[in-house]
């Protein structure tokens, strides 16, 4: 009996070690390009451009020059600011339009709600690659070409469908009794929605906000085809087009920009990961 107990224990220890090894391996594989960017960002030119040097070490002292360059001599700050305000406005539009739509589909018991939900999701599948040509004509017709506002106008078409879909999941998770109680207490249906349902769905709404923001920050095709002046560009188009002059890549500054953008978004997303997963389960499987 003692041997089996020891055997169990050994197997337990082995499985724990296995979990840790796998976790570390997964984290390293996912983060590898960013770790490499991080090292690169602080290297001197003479260190970086010598194929004999060990690329993972600092063969010469680290320098913050390229990061200072990024902020002082490139439009990186402008790109970041543009991405931020476009993201905030788009998320705002998405919530104002998407939240009532999701509520209607989740709660107001229309017979067509199920089909409508799938229809909205299918809109998400109409890719920017299909629409960018005709949308760029529409943007021109409305006089928004070469302006960041064109992105504010167009991005909600990407974020509304997927947000509605996720929000349906969150709203279905809220017990019906709560609105019924609110209506018994004298609120109208709209009042119950605004005062009882929205506050309860708040964590889910925050998860949707983070997700929608990530989508707008990554978008590339629309940003590339609608906007070309430097001062109007966002990060996803500005960094790859403006930090490369002809064939000259400002590698350290480029990598610094990558890390500076990647880390905060992933940090915030990580905070809301569990919420996001909850919304996904309900939206996807029970939708």
């Amino acid at each position: 009996m003692v041997t089996t107990a020891a055997g169990y224990r050994r197997r337990y220890v082995a499985s724990r070690v296995g979990v840790y090894l796998l976790a570390i391996l997964a984290a390293l594989l996912c983060a590898a390009p960013f770790l490499w960017s991080l090292i690169t960002a602080f290297k001197q030119n003479r260190d970086l451009y010598n194929p004999q040097n060990n690329p993972f070490l600092f063969n010469r002292p680290a320098t913050p020059d390229h990061i200072t360059y990024l902020f002082q001599h490139t439009a990186f700050g402008t790109f970041a600011w543009n991405t931020l305000w476009v993201g905030v406005l788009v998320v705002g539009i998405t919530l104002v339009l998407g939240l009532p739509a999701a509520y209607a589909l989740a709660r107001l018991d229309r017979p067509w709600a199920g089909w409508f939900g799938i229809g909205i999701f299918l809109v998400y599948l109409v890719p920017p690659s299909l629409l960018f040509l005709s949308l760029s004509r529409i943007v021109v017709a409305w006089g928004l070409q070469d302006s960041t506002w064109s992105l504010v106008l167009v991005y909600p078409t990407i974020t509304i469908p997927v947000s509605v879909w996720l929000l349906i999941g969150f709203l279905k998770g809220i017990p019906k009794d709560i609105e019924e109680q609110a209506m018994v207490d004298g609120y109208s249906r709209v009042g119950a929605f605004i005062r009882a349902v929205v506050p309860l769905a708040f964590p889910g709404i925050v998860a949707v906000v983070v997700f929608a923001f990530t989508l707008t920050a990554s978008e590339y095709i629309y940003a590339l085809s609608f906007v070309s002046p430097t001062s109007q560009k966002v990060i996803s188009t500005g960094v790859p087009t403006e930090l490369v002059r002809g064939d000259v890549f400002f590698w350290q500054s480029l990598q610094a920009a990558t890390v500076l953008v990647a880390v905060p978004i992933a940090l915030v997303f990580n905070l809301f990961l569990d919420r996001f997963i909850a919304g996904f389960t309900q939206g996807a499987v029970k939708g």
Partner: protein, 322 residues
């Protein structure tokens, strides 16, 4: 209890005039009112451009001559005559197919790791999320530098371990692999970046599925004497399948319609070896100014995507019912 509630109702003043209340309580009207803004927005900015795209595909509109003339299927005949189109189409399918399989399999593995219990989970999750939450052009830039033709650290490691750089070495005697310069390697690189970028998303979706599996089901199977593989194939996999299908759907769409990775890494090259339909449509439609042809190429994607999406969504529904 009911007495208390009645008292409460009696005490609560009616907040709205009767007519407005009835209006705000009529569910049918309300449902439409709530839905309308989103529907209108999407009709104007997705529906209209979609119809316009079809119109452009059947016209001779160019950036220089925006006047509309109907030309029937001429654009389609011209793109079908173009070998680059067929090459892009083939590449699109290869990229999507290979990445989708890898994304689903690796996503499942990653999801299992991420729901396991261990210390430092927070930092692991953070690092795992990075590829997906970072704007795709920026992560592609990180890869571009990693796959650089001279300074690639991968090449450096290969040289150090003796696989590259000296005559007779396994990977050749050149000092570099030229990851993005050789057609085969360039395709492998693009696929790797797609898989790397989307596996975390698939993992997150599948975590949702794995967490939804009731624990007792597995336990019951275990008590009934089902071994690991039997539990895996008869309990876990069937239950995860719907979510895996959703993950596959997202993976397909994001790979199928993406051009950022290709654009930043290879710009379609070398010699169109990594050109995909989206990047080719952009090249013809925006850079080349031939709006009609660009639209025709882009439209070619749609029936395929729609069919794939409907097939997967129907399969998911059937699995849930069954």
């Amino acid at each position: 209890m009911s007495a208390v509630r009645e008292a409460e109702v009696a005490r609560t003043p009616v907040r709205l005039p009767a007519a407005r209340r009835r209006f705000a309580d009529r569910e049918g009207t309300l449902a439409w009112l709530f839905l309308m803004p989103s529907v209108v927005y999407i009709l104007v900015l997705v529906g209209v451009p979609f119809v316009l795209a079809i119109g452009f595909a059947l016209s001779d509109v160019t950036a220089g001559d925006p006047s509309y003339d109907y030309v029937g299927l001429r654009n389609f005949r011209r793109i079908f005559d173009d070998p680059v189109f067929w090459r892009s189409l083939g590449n699109t399918f290869i990229f999507t197919g290979v990445s989708m399989v890898l994304i689903v399999v690796l996503g499942k593995v990653l999801a299992n790791i991420m729901i396991a219990n261990f210390k430092g989970k927070w930092i692991v999750r953070f690092l795992v999320l990075l590829p997906w939450t970072t704007p795709v052009t920026l992560s592609s830039i990180a890869w571009l530098w990693m796959l650089d033709s001279i300074y690639s650290p991968i090449d450096w490691v290969l040289r150090q371990v003796g696989l590259l750089g000296k005559p007779g070495d396994l990977l050749g005697s050149g000092s570099n692999m030229y990851w993005l310069g050789e057609p085969g390697l360039a395709m492998a690189s693009v696929i790797t970046v797609h898989v790397w970028r989307l596996t975390p998303l698939a993992a997150v979706i599948m975590m949702a599925g794995l967490m939804a599996i009731p624990r007792d089901l597995e336990e019951a199977a275990r008590v009934d004497g089902a071994g690991y593989w039997r539990r895996m194939f008869e309990v876990t996999i069937p239950l995860v399948l719907p979510v895996a299908a959703v993950a596959a759907l997202f993976g397909t769409i994001f790979t199928f319609t993406d051009m950022a990775v290709v654009d930043v890494l290879t710009n379609g090259g070398p010699n169109n070896a990594t050109q995909v339909l989206t990047s080719w449509a952009f090249f013809r439609g925006i850079d080349g100014g031939d709006v009609g042809q660009g639209a025709a190429i882009a439209l070619f994607l749609f029936p395929i995507l729609l069919a794939a999406a409907i097939a997967i969504l129907r399969a998911v529904r059937r699995m849930e019912v069954g």
